[in-house]
């Protein structure tokens, strides 16, 4: 990411990623929030409730009895024209599942933050990406942030993207539960929220209005349902270009220019390691250490998960002979169990590239993934060579499992 001076005046504050979400939601001036508390997301809505209570944010907070209702409530509010927000994690996201499809099918510009967390059973409140990966086919545009700064910036960007008349799809901004949601770090936020409000102006769209009645979410038979769903396909595909435009808008405003796929020391790299979320920093540290040992290795970070940035992946990976993809979720019984690894392989296939992609699963249920883990994964992949393809997916760090 390139950092320049943006035109929006900013102040340096100390926040964790949960609070960074709340600051951004306040700064874009949402109208309606509905949420149900769940660890590790709860800090987001606690902070928003405090902001409403002390007059910093003029919004309606709807207290609901479940996440299913939280999402349903903001669907109603959004259909009536409000700017809305909710936040969740883990079981809460799963409990929303059927409503996720209703939100995107109704083409409502909702924004939701997800502090990613493992799924029960057994009960585990710690970080992995099982919850997020389970909702990948629900037609929500999905970003995965790596720092509290990026969380703040991306929430603002999410409203630009969601409300763009070319897109009108809901957006998830995800980040590591605990590793980021509970980590305090310095970041820059707009000094005055009016700056951000002008960045995300209110736009006209079709809404529920008694003076001009419309029906939303009606029954559609086999004669038209497919065409309506294809419109979602088209909107998702068009969203890519719009996101690139808004990356530049955010860049000019804040001075931080994001890319769907970020590369580190990839210019002369022969081997690359790709991951996403809060562990990217440890990957970059590991790459520096491995470079010190003489390996020509680089790091790649996926920021945009849906729509999947196929061309960016191909462009950045084109020069390497081996690509390790480190996922923190398991697609049980899949040909390749790492959800992102599978997408990477499909992207390379589309470009006719046949390089060794090594799928790693790590960090499940909050197991730390450190610099040493990345170094270990790198060295094991070298040792296994082409045999990694036959193995399919390597479950890094599981007791009692060895690949030597």
């Amino acid at each position: 990411m390139q950092v320049l001076e943006g035109y929006v005046k900013q102040v340096r504050v100390m926040l964790n990623s949960n609070y960074a979400v709340a600051y951004a939601v306040r700064d874009v001036d949402v109208d309606v929030i509905a949420a149900y508390p769940i660890t590790p997301q709860t800090g987001v809505v606690e902070k928003l409730a405090e902001m409403i209570a002390n007059g910093e944010l003029d919004a309606e907070m709807i207290h609901v009895e479940s996440e299913h209702s939280a999402l349903s409530a903001i669907i109603g509010a959004s259909a009536a024209g409000a700017r809305v927000f909710t936040a969740t994690s883990s079981q809460g996201l799963e409990y929303m599942h059927e409503v996720l499809h209703i939100a995107s099918g109704m083409r409502l510009p909702l924004v939701m933050s997800v502090a990613t967390r493992a799924l029960s059973a057994p009960i585990n409140i710690w970080c992995d990406y099982s919850d997020l990966m389970n909702v990948r086919d629900s037609s929500w545009i999905t970003f995965i942030a790596s720092t509290a700064q990026e969380v703040y910036d991306t929430i603002v960007e999410a409203y630009m993207v969601a409300e763009d008349p070319r897109i009108l799809l809901p957006v998830i901004v995800a980040y590591d539960g605990f590793w980021m949601s509970h980590t305090y770090e310095p970041l820059y936020v707009a000094e005055d929220k009016s700056y951000v409000r002008t960045l995300v102006p209110r736009r006209d769209r079709v809404k529920l209005d008694p003076q001009k009645p419309v029906t939303m979410g009606a029954l559609v038979g086999p004669d038209w349902y497919y065409e309506i769903k294809y419109q979602q396909v088209a909107a998702m595909s068009e969203a890519y270009e719009a996101i690139r435009e808004y990356d530049r808008v955010i860049g000019r405003a804040f001075g931080r220019f994001y890319e769907p796929v970020e590369a580190y020391k990839m210019d002369d790299a022969e081997i690359a390691i790709l991951t996403y979320g809060g562990i990217y920093g440890s990957l970059v540290e590991a790459v520096d250490r491995l470079r010190g040992e003489g390996y020509k290795v680089g790091a790649i970070r996926l920021r945009l998960w849906r729509p999947f940035p196929v061309d960016d992946i191909v462009r950045v990976a084109r020069g390497v002979s081996k690509l390790l993809v480190v996922d923190r979720a398991i697609s049980y019984g899949a040909s390749i169990a790492g959800p992102v690894a599978l997408e990477v392989i499909a992207s390379l296939h589309r470009a006719g590239l046949d390089l060794d992609v090594v799928s790693y699963v790590a960090g499940i249920g909050g197991r730390p993934v450190t610099e040493s883990d990345f170094e270990g994964m790198f060295k094991l992949a070298l040792k296994l060579g082409r045999r990694a393809r036959e193995i399919g997916t390597i479950y890094w760090g599981v007791r009692g499992v060895s690949y030597d």
């Binding site: 964790n16 409140i125 509970h182 770090e185 730390p368 450190t370």
Partner: protein, 205 residues
């Protein structure tokens, strides 16, 4: 002084309710006033009063990239002396400091635990006297300040006011501790901080 001139890693050990997690963020906030890069995070678990709690503070002159837990701290701060030493001494660097809340003299801690660099303060007594409650985190920050060069006691005082009372005050320590806008609780915490700084016993063998 422990740590390199570039990076200082602190691990906090306490029990739920003593304020270890809050102390980790106060130190980070204070270091941010010095223009440093910082990170503070708890060892995550279901929050229960009385259960062992770990928290971490990283302070660096260069951007911090890793979010991994601190395995080899420069300083270990122990808020509750009843915690098992095998637990809190794990991975402490050989030239690292143990900052501990204890009624024992520093020499006894050194010989009992086999560590060479120790800061000891009776933070419980100070907290009971100053803030009238056995919440020792701010007192422990005062003791810690004795062996940290990257962050001043004044910055820690300002960060304490900001974090605990949402009060933004600037100025030298002398003026902060006499500020007329501060309530009894805020002044009590500043007193705990300064008292612990003054009374802490530093031993290096």
């Amino acid at each position: 002084m422990p740590g390199s001139s570039q990076l200082l890693e602190v691990r906090w050990h306490g029990r739920g309710g003593q304020g270890a997690v809050t102390a980790s963020t106060i130190l980070a906030e204070a270091a941010s006033y010095e223009g440093l890069y910082v990170q503070a995070f708890p060892e995550f678990g279901p929050e229960r009063r009385g259960a062992p709690v770990k928290a971490y503070t990283r302070i660096s002159r260069t951007p911090i990239r890793s979010r991994a837990p601190i395995a080899n701290p420069d300083i270990v701060v122990v808020l509750d002396p009843s915690l098992p030493p095998t637990h809190y001494l794990q991975g402490l660097k050989s030239d690292g400091f143990l900052v501990i809340n204890s009624k024992l003299p520093a020499r006894d801690i050194v010989s009992k635990l086999g560590v060479s660099r120790v800061v000891v303060v009776d933070a419980t007594a100070i907290a009971l006297r100053t803030i009238k409650a056995p919440i020792v985190n701010v007192a422990m920050l005062g003791a810690l300040a004795r062996v940290v060069s990257m962050v001043s006691l004044e910055s820690i005082a300002r960060a304490t006011l900001k974090t605990l009372f949402n009060v933004k005050l600037e100025g030298p320590l002398d003026s902060l501790i006499r500020s007329s806008i501060l309530g009894e609780a805020a002044l009590g915490n500043l007193e705990a901080l300064v008292e612990a700084y003054r009374l802490a016993e530093v031993v290096e063998v």
